[in-house]
């Protein structure tokens, strides 16, 4: 027979092993070798704090009483985890990016960092969890008592109470040692998580071993086992549909909202990718945990003496078959389940109590806020440790006072329903931007009150705060307020009744009040952050800077984060700001960063309060909100400006390309021009040189000498004219020409031009010029000399090139609109189509007739003149002969 002493020894060895595991893990993490400590499987195993002693022992008892109903407690979490894309993914992302330390912190942070909400959630959590912790202590004490000699002089319960006390003290020591070693920025406890993972394996192995022993050792295989199930008292399906659905719902809610589950699921999460593994591995764990529950229950009911406690079948069944080692393993499994739950629950609760109740009170007693002397860090740790001790004491006190009554057994589900009251506020927090702080508070309080009234208080039975008369007739005989038949809803299972009313009133109050109230700017900022967590890239501007001194902030940060960490944080922030010192400017950005760092240690509300004390209370205002919105708008505008700029640049690049092509073309033209001009200059120079050489030889006839001199003279004149033309052209082309405006009639100008062509004459050919004098009586105010030059050129060209036997030139003037059109049309064959494009170019001559005597600059000069006079000259096709049209703006011509 396994004696109590042996069992105590085994337990002690096991506890020492757990301490060492936690210690080693903590050391490895401290040395930066966290590696495998953060494996997804460790995370998954740590989630097993869901399976407490209530599930380890209680599931079998539950199954023995109500058959398959126990499985709802595992099916709910399964659905939540395989549906992690809906909720858990977002929750974990928010928890990590907002440095959430507990579920109270999440609710408080989302609803404008309101500490009062955090206090409500904390109180609810403590109220619901204390009996649950008591239940764990009871289960350990009970399982010890199984091994104790039943007959004896001692009072059995007194014995159990002593056991429970020692367990409570041991757990408190463990939790203080590994749960408050530090104020980890993300509240991660590697040692605790590792120990819990080990315990998770122990309890799974224990349950599987007992189950395998029952199925194959006692029943003789799967087939016979199924036969036994069919013959057992639990063979019939006897579950109310409402209870089935209600329990699945409440367990699904609890797996998220129970403080200890939130702790391991969100706060201790080291990597979001772990969640994807846990999404199937944790349901797998739950499946294995519940695989043998029915067989063990059936076999226990069958083979154990009537009246034995079904909650203890897991231990008593192997014991009755003299399987002492197996019984010891089962005991360790139950022990593990109980201890891991108590440890994590007390860490989670103490964080909440310390951050949201003790610290704010302590801070308010500190005059001048956190910057006065006194080590906040040490105070934090002390308050955390005191909270753990308090939570543990509450649990133990509850256990001792309730005298280990059967009422405790039901507390598991009652605690679940209590924890589920946070669900509406939580869902609203991360999916609905319209959820407000007042709405959340109203929902939480309504749900909490209804839960306490309809489920929690009645659970104590008639001996509790509610008398039997009160329960059956309602307060003062008001039947509508009967705790278990609220508003006349009778005939429902009390748990489902409480769940229905609490959730309906909770959600209703939350929605209605949220719709009716208006959130503060901080709430709206945080709401946007939480709801759009996957789109937001940075934290909101929550501080209007200026008031805080960097020194004060450093003093405060050192007290909470520790000197080294705080200093390195400040130095790196200063570097980011481009400052050389170790103190950064207290910009809003820096204040937000610091607040988030502090929130990792003390929670969002407290961190906010501490900074606002130093910052002089300047917090977010509507103007800041507008600034945030403006910033976004500016970003969008900036990006569209950039887009426009880039288009502009593209256009400019295109223009540059065109200009470049033009330049290349011009360069080619210039080369052509230079070669042309040298050719034009060389021809007269050659004849001048050769004739002057002849003259130098002397002995020439007078007549010959005169002839040669005349040739030289003529060539020089030609050369001079060429140079004149070139100079003229270059002046015109460069726009450097100085115009000399005069007033004259068109008729007079044409007369001058005709006269000079005839006079300049000695023309080999003559031309008849036809004019319509009436149309020429237009007064012009322009550079008349230049205009006459153009006319002369055109007329001279006609004289030179008109190939008609009886050449004539018609000059028509008319004005259309604000332009004067002057057409010069001869009756020759005109200019060949292929040459039209070039006649206005320099040195363009249609044929090689040297009779032209010019260098081919005439029309080029004409075009430049007309451009300078704001008019134009064009060659027109289809007028019979060569036709030129000179246009001149009339407003300019009539300006006189």
């Amino acid at each position: 027979m396994l004696t109590l002493n042996v069992l105590v020894a085994i337990s002690l060895i096991y506890v020492i092993a757990l301490f060492s595991v936690a210690y080693v893990a903590e050391r490895r993490a401290a040395r930066g070798k966290a590696g495998w400590l953060r494996a997804p499987m460790i995370y998954t195993l740590s989630l097993s704090v869901y399976c407490t002693a209530w599930t380890f022992y209680g599931a079998v008892g539950y199954a023995a009483r109500s058959g398959l109903e126990f499985v709802t407690i595992y099916l709910g979490p399964t659905l939540v985890f395989i549906g992690w894309w809906w909720l858990l993914r977002k929750l974990v992302r928010i928890g990590r990016s907002q440095r959430i330390t507990s579920i109270a912190d999440l609710i408080s942070s989302r609803y404008g960092k309101s500490n009062s909400l955090a206090v409500i959630v904390t109180l609810m959590a403590v109220t619901a969890s204390t009996p649950y912790i008591a239940l764990q202590l009871q289960s350990v004490a009970l399982s010890f008592s199984v091994f104790a000699p039943t007959e004896g002089a001692f009072d059995a319960f007194a014995d159990q109470r002593t056991t429970a006390m020692w367990v409570a003290i041991g757990l408190a020591v463990f939790t203080v040692l590994f749960g408050t070693r530090n104020l980890d920025a993300n509240e991660r406890h590697h040692g605790v998580v590792m120990a819990i993972a080990v315990e998770a394996i122990v309890k799974l192995v224990a349950l599987l071993a007992v189950g395998a022993f029952v199925v194959w050792g006692m029943a003789g295989g799967i087939g016979p086992m199924l036969d036994r199930i069919d013959q057992s008292p639990v063979t019939a399906w006897d579950v109310e549909g409402s209870r089935w659905v209600g329990l699945i719902f409440v367990s699904a809610a609890a797996v998220i909202t129970l403080p200890r589950m939130f702790q391991v699921l969100v706060v201790e999460n080291a990597d979001e990718a772990h969640l994807s593994t846990a999404s199937w591995a944790f349901p797998g764990y739950l499946l294995l945990m519940s695989l043998f529950v029915i067989p063990i229950a059936v076999m226990g009911l069958e083979s154990m003496p009537a009246g034995s406690n079904p909650d203890l079948f897991v231990v008593t069944l192997p014991l009755s078959q003299d399987q002492n080692a197996l019984a010891a393993l089962a005991f360790l499994g139950g022990f593990s389940s109980a201890t891991s739950m108590v440890i994590v629950a007390s860490i989670a609760l103490s964080t909440m109590v310390s951050n949201h109740i003790i610290m704010p009170i302590w801070l308010s007693f500190q005059e001048g806020g956190a910057s006065v002397s006194g080590d906040v860090r040490r105070a934090m740790l002390r308050s955390r440790r005191a909270s753990i001790a308090a939570v543990m004491t509450l649990g133990y006190g509850y256990y001792a006072l309730s005298s280990g009554s059967e009422a405790l057994a039901a507390i598991g589900l009652i605690a679940f329903v209590g924890a589920a009251q946070v669900l509406p506020a939580l869902i609203g927090a991360i999916f609905w931007r319209g959820a407000t702080r007042r709405g959340a508070a109203a929902g939480l309080i309504a749900g909490f009150v209804v839960w306490a009234y309809t489920l929690y208080l009645p659970s104590f039975g008639a001996s509790g705060p509610m008398s039997g008369d009160f329960l059956s007739n309602g307060p003062g005989g008001l039947a509508a307020l009967r705790p278990q038949a609220l508003f006349g809803l009778v005939g429902l299972d009390p748990l489902v009744h409480a769940l229905l009313w609490s959730m309906v009133l909770n959600t209703g109050a939350f929605l209605v009040v949220s719709l009716m109230t208006f959130p503060s700017p901080m709430e709206r900022l945080q709401g946007a952050q939480f709801v759009n967590i996957f789109e937001h890239s940075n934290s909101p501007r929550s501080w209007t800077g200026g008031m805080a001194e960097a020194e004060d902030l450093l003093v405060m940060a050192q007290r909470i984060l520790g000197a080294r960490e705080a200093q390195s944080l400040f130095v790196s922030a200063a570097e980011d700001q481009g400052k050389s010192g170790y103190l950064p400017e207290p910009t809003p950005d820096f204040l937000a960063l610091l607040e988030r760092e502090l929130a990792g240690s003390v929670g969002a509300a407290t961190a906010h309060a501490m900074i606002s004390q130093i910052n002089g209370g300047a917090s977010v205002s509507v103007r800041d909100l507008m600034a945030v919105a403006d910033e976004t708008a500016q970003m969008m505008e900036y990006s569209s400006q950039l887009e426009a700029k880039s288009q502009e640049l593209e256009a400019i690049a295109g223009q540059l390309r065109e200009a470049n092509e033009k330049l290349t073309e011009l360069s080619i033209q210039k080369d052509a021009f230079l070669s042309q001009i040298s050719h034009e200059l060389r021809t007269p120079m050659t004849s001048i040189r050769s004739f002057s050489e002849i003259l130098m030889e002397g002995s020439l006839e007078e007549t010959e000498r005169q002839r040669y001199s005349k040739i030289i003279h003529g060539e020089s004149i030609r050369l001079t004219r060429l140079l004149d033309d070139l100079l003229d052209l270059s002046v015109l082309e460069n726009g450097q020409v100085v115009l000399n405006p005069q007033t004259d009639t068109l008729e007079a100008l044409l007369d001058r031009a005709v006269a000079s062509t005839v006079a300049a004459g000695q023309q080999p050919r003559s031309i008849r010029i036809l004019r319509t004098p009436g149309s020429e009586s237009i007064t012009l105010h322009t550079d008349t000399d230049r205009l006459v030059q153009v006319f002369i050129n055109i007329i001279a060209n006609s004289i030179k090139y008109c190939d008609a036997p009886d050449p004539e030139l018609r000059i028509d003037a008319r004005h259309t609109g604000d332009e004067l059109w002057l057409d010069f049309i001869d009756n020759g064959s005109g200019i060949p189509a292929r040459s039209e494009a070039v006649i206005f170019e320099k040195f363009a001559r249609i044929d090689d007739q040297s009779q032209a005597g010019g260098a081919g600059l005439g029309l080029a000069i004409c075009r430049e003149i007309m451009v300078n006079l704001r008019g134009s000259i064009r060659y027109m096709r289809g007028y019979g002969g060569a036709a030129f049209r000179v246009t001149l703006p009339i407003h300019l011509s009539q300006a006189a």
Binding site: A29, A30, G32, K33, A34, L68, V71, L75, T78, L79, V80, F81, I82, G83, W84, W85, W86, R93, R96, R99, N182, L183, D184, A185, N186, R188, H190, L226, D230, S232, T235, A236, W237, D238, V239, G241, W244, V245, I248, E272, S276, T277, S279, W280, P283, G284, L287, L291, I294, I533, F534, E535, H536, S537, L561, E565, M636, S639, S640, L642
Partner: protein, 102 residues
């Protein structure tokens, strides 16, 4: 630097990935249906139902776990296939954990 609007039509790879996520989201809906409906329809107090219902529930449960695991694997391999989805760009996550105690 403007992230602009997410495109209306996706490349085949992100499209496939989104449909996988849709499937992952649908899984608990199917699961809820399979778990709740038969239990509501089952006549109560009939002997011999616990054993077969237990087998049924555990079968559904196992299948759900297997599908969840497969889905996770597919989504992860689709993610590693390159193309990041707009909705899953990791932003705003806390600073990397140094693993050092403070």
């Amino acid at each position: 630097m403007a992230r602009g609007r997410p495109p209306i039509f996706l490349q085949p790879e992100p499209y496939r990935r989104r449909r996988l996520i849709d499937a992952a989201r649908l899984l608990p809906v199917f699961g809820t249906f399979l778990i709740i409906v038969p239990c509501l329809l089952l006549p109560k107090g009939l002997d011999g139902t616990t054993g077969s219902l237990m087998l049924y529930l555990f079968l559904v449960w196992t299948l759900l776990i297997i599908f969840a695991a497969l889905m996770t694997r597919y989504i992860r391999s689709a993610e590693q296939g390159g193309t990041t989805d707009v909705t899953s760009v990791d932003i705003g996550a806390g600073p990397p954990d140094t693993g050092e105690g403070r």
